[in-house]
Symmetry: C2
Subunit: 265 residues, 2 copies
């Protein structure tokens, strides 16, 4: 099977022009099939504030009311997505920017209200349609995916970028040997958050559960890890969590960096 | 040759929820190959104002400074494009929203400063790459194109939607029998602007030049007409200018409405 890299780039890198440019240059040099999934960054919050809309957050997730849905559709699907696409084009990478609504890639349903908690227009992925992406890759195109889905009934939905990346990785694992790479501003999963070099080089699910119970892996890292082990169980070859600067090293295996997640088997 | 409809929908219809919904339903029912190009509408101006940026207009064209470029990239490429795509998906039309940067469809150059007049980040189309669109159509996808291009050097550019539509029509005319349909809020090209029913049913370029010199065709209609006759000279089969409500009638030939532009030959 052909190799496919699905690379997710987080919000903090997107907010930093210099880091983003370096990352996109590195990404554009990957020779294999590749898909980029990007997060949101602070721009959506800044623009909301500029328009007098205060972003509400619960457990690290944005509450998406109707106005916020408009903002994230604009900022993620328009501003950030097209900024990345036009930059990649300038590096001779034939990028195509998409959301989950385009070509019906990611059908989602509005997250149900639970214990009185309504996330608003947040979508949980229900179905991935990998067909168009397989076509685009065979045409030499590089899909760049914004963290937006749709409900099939005319509404966009806001979906966590980590989840978009892992859903796509699983959805494409029947056709490709998929390696999912989460790039962010840390060197990997850390044993000690105070020591940026205390990277855990590899982990299986058993070890993850131990570290979670010990409180070593917590907060924002938990959904990322849960997503990753789900993806591995469902056919993704490998998941790496690493610093955005280390993408080239990881792909070329010049240097083992970041945290590699492995199946229990 | 297979038939291809390139339909452009103008800003006034986009601003009207009810009209837009009817139009998109009609469009989704077209059986032939089809591409939709959409304009901007007033939303960009409203959001600019909300953020304290005043839109500058010269000769009916927006001056695109760096901040305005961000706004139009967000609003045209994100908000409006994905609203249309998600609506079309709900009508079982497998839409894919794109800008000229995506798949390098429309390469443009920043309009040169002339007589001290700098339009800012406005792009004049330099090269159309029809290949990806031909692929997408063969996959059963319906491209929905926002009026944005890129310069190949990492920057998006703002391009008039009528020009995007006619450039695509010309670029695809070697592969399809292209009919270009401009839909807007009037019944066609009017002989007398005060009488909304004084539609000129058809026109060749000679008659257009007469009407232009007589001042009957003026203002915003002039670039649309110039674009149209350029397109016909360069291989587009027919151009129709009509009311958004009349799309189905025009395509099914149940009723001849609007203004049809013909070659001189």
């Amino acid at each position: 099977m052909q190799k496919l890299y699905i690379v997710k780039i987080g919000g903090n890198v997107i907010d930093d022009e210099v880091q983003l440019e370096k990352f996109l240059k590195d990404f554009s040099h990957l020779k294999e099939n590749k898909i980029l999934v990007h997060g949101g960054g602070k721009v959506a919050t800044e623009i909301s504030r500029g328009l007098g809309i205060e972003a509400q957050m619960v457990e690290g997730r944005r509450i998406t009311d109707a106005e916020t849905l408009k903002i994230v559709t604009m900022v993620y699907g328009g501003l950030i997505n097209k900024k990345i696409v036009s930059k990649l084009q300038s590096y001779e990478c034939n990028a195509i920017g998409l959301t989950g609504a385009d070509a019906n890639l990611l059908l989602a349903e509005k997250r149900p209200v639970k214990n009185g908690m309504d996330y608003g227009f947040v979508g949980d992925v229900k179905k991935v349609h990998p067909g168009p992406l397989i076509h685009f890759l065979s045409m030499g195109l590089t899909p760049v995916i914004a963290p937006l889905t749709h409900n099939g009934e005319g509404s966009m939905l806001n979906t966590n970028a980590d989840t978009v990346a892992s859903s796509l990785a699983v959805g494409l694992s029947a056709n490709f040997s998929v390696e999912l790479i989460y790039c962010f501003e840390l060197n990997g999963v850390l044993e000690n958050f105070e020591d940026k070099n205390s990277v855990i080089p590899s982990m299986n699910e058993e070890k993850y559960q131990e570290l979670k119970q010990a409180g070593i892996i917590s907060k924002g890292m938990v959904p990322k890890m849960d997503n990753s082990f789900d993806a591995i169980r469902e056919g993704v070859s490998a998941v790496v969590i690493c610093h955005a600067d280390d993408l080239t090293d990881i792909v070329t295996h010049k240097n083992i960096k970041g945290t590699t997640l492995k199946s229990d088997g």
